[in-house]
Symmetry: D2
């Protein structure tokens, strides 16, 4: 069995670039899966930033690393863990302090317009492509 | 859609008890899934502690929150993220410093004897039962 | 362990109603998961029917039970199994014979317009709601 | 998006070999996933055959294609679908008629001894290796 031991992935996050998401939010890409659609990132959200209304077409999970996230479930502070179930709609997610969180989503997140039509899909592919662009740019 | 918005789970980890795993290792249970077998915990590992040889019957993922984990892939330090693929065998995992890590496993981990027979299965049920016992004890 | 043995689900498909999907296509709902977003159905597709262009926001799997499905990968006949990876786009899927197939999708399928904007999302919730409506109607 | 359309997999099961599992049971391997541990097979079980006691370390799903499977949930006949939840223990599974079923398991199945110790693990790797051996033998 040991001879076929599959490779571990150790991701030294300190060496990863922060990529701009927009309006005070940056991210580092830790992992994306083309098979399951999972994507894991660290979001860094400046005081006063936030995510627009979105719908989870896959469950999400986070661990607050620092700061505060104010959203539907309440105020999550450093050390708090949250599970955002499949199909949940988050109308308002804001960061009243400079914040960082580890975030995994199991599938796509859809940003929606006021009429609930989809304005943008955030999925593993979005993050995989941004990561590849930045790796190419750094070379 | 909002009327059926499924419930978010916000887990205030500071209020959760540390449960003894054995030999310098404690954990807090953040989430377990009876459907998928996923389990997410925070491990607190005292300097000099470690996990015995084990085999992942489901992929694992971690984020080092503090300290150092020395294992097959190298030394993971605070901020590092790791993905431990399905089927990986970890012969030695030690903590040369007091450490904490967020850890999710997608299915069971089997602790194994030198002949690779299974000595103990660590799965969502193990953690769900320990969590329930402690909640009952605290009541 | 036996005392906690979780319940098996045995679904007698012969007793399930065929529900109309539209234009020669009907389905029976075998299972939907609110946690993972998986949905499993049997589609019955009349000769000459077909699915409009769609994009898989989750992988799909099928087993042809009878007939022929003509799609991007070729012609699948009774007994054939297919895996449709996450992110695949299927421009044309037609049934040149009366056909039946078992189909599971791990997440949503999006029917798209010629400009690739989304016209309709087919997910576990769609099927769970239709199933509930028919169960209520039959009562 | 079309230029990156990921490959569909169409598996012509009629061309796949039946591989002997033991004691009247054969199988064809349709798919195995090294990432998730899912494995999908068709089991062909001769009249009077059966599976020994086993424990599901991952949920299972099946569709009876012909014959009868007599197990904990009752008698499943051609056309019936079953969902076997994570952690279910099946003490006796027998086939009173020549039978075939499509079967997917999301992770390992453990065959157990009367004292519930594990005698054998059936996982994606078992099936991937058997499939590779037979493909090599056929070449």
């Amino acid at each position: 069995m040991k001879t076929e031991n599959p490779p571990d992935i150790l991701c030294q996050t300190a060496k990863l670039p922060w990529i701009e998401f927009g309006a005070g939010i940056h991210y580092k890409v830790l992992r994306t899966s083309a098979e399951t659609g999972d994507w894991t990132v660290i979001f860094r959200c400046a005081k006063g930033s936030g995510f627009p209304p979105h719908y989870h077409h896959g469950a999400g999970e986070y661990l607050m690393l620092e700061g505060v996230m104010d959203y539907r479930a309440g105020k999550a502070v450093a050390g708090d863990y949250g599970y955002e179930p499949l199909g949940v709609y988050h109308e308002s997610t804001t960061f009243p302090e400079d914040s960082e969180l580890l975030f995994t989503n199991h599938g796509p997140v859809a940003f929606v317009n006021p009429d609930m039509s989809i304005s943008m899909i955030l999925d593993w592919k979005f993050f995989a492509e941004k990561q590849a662009e930045h790796a190419a740019g750094a070379a």
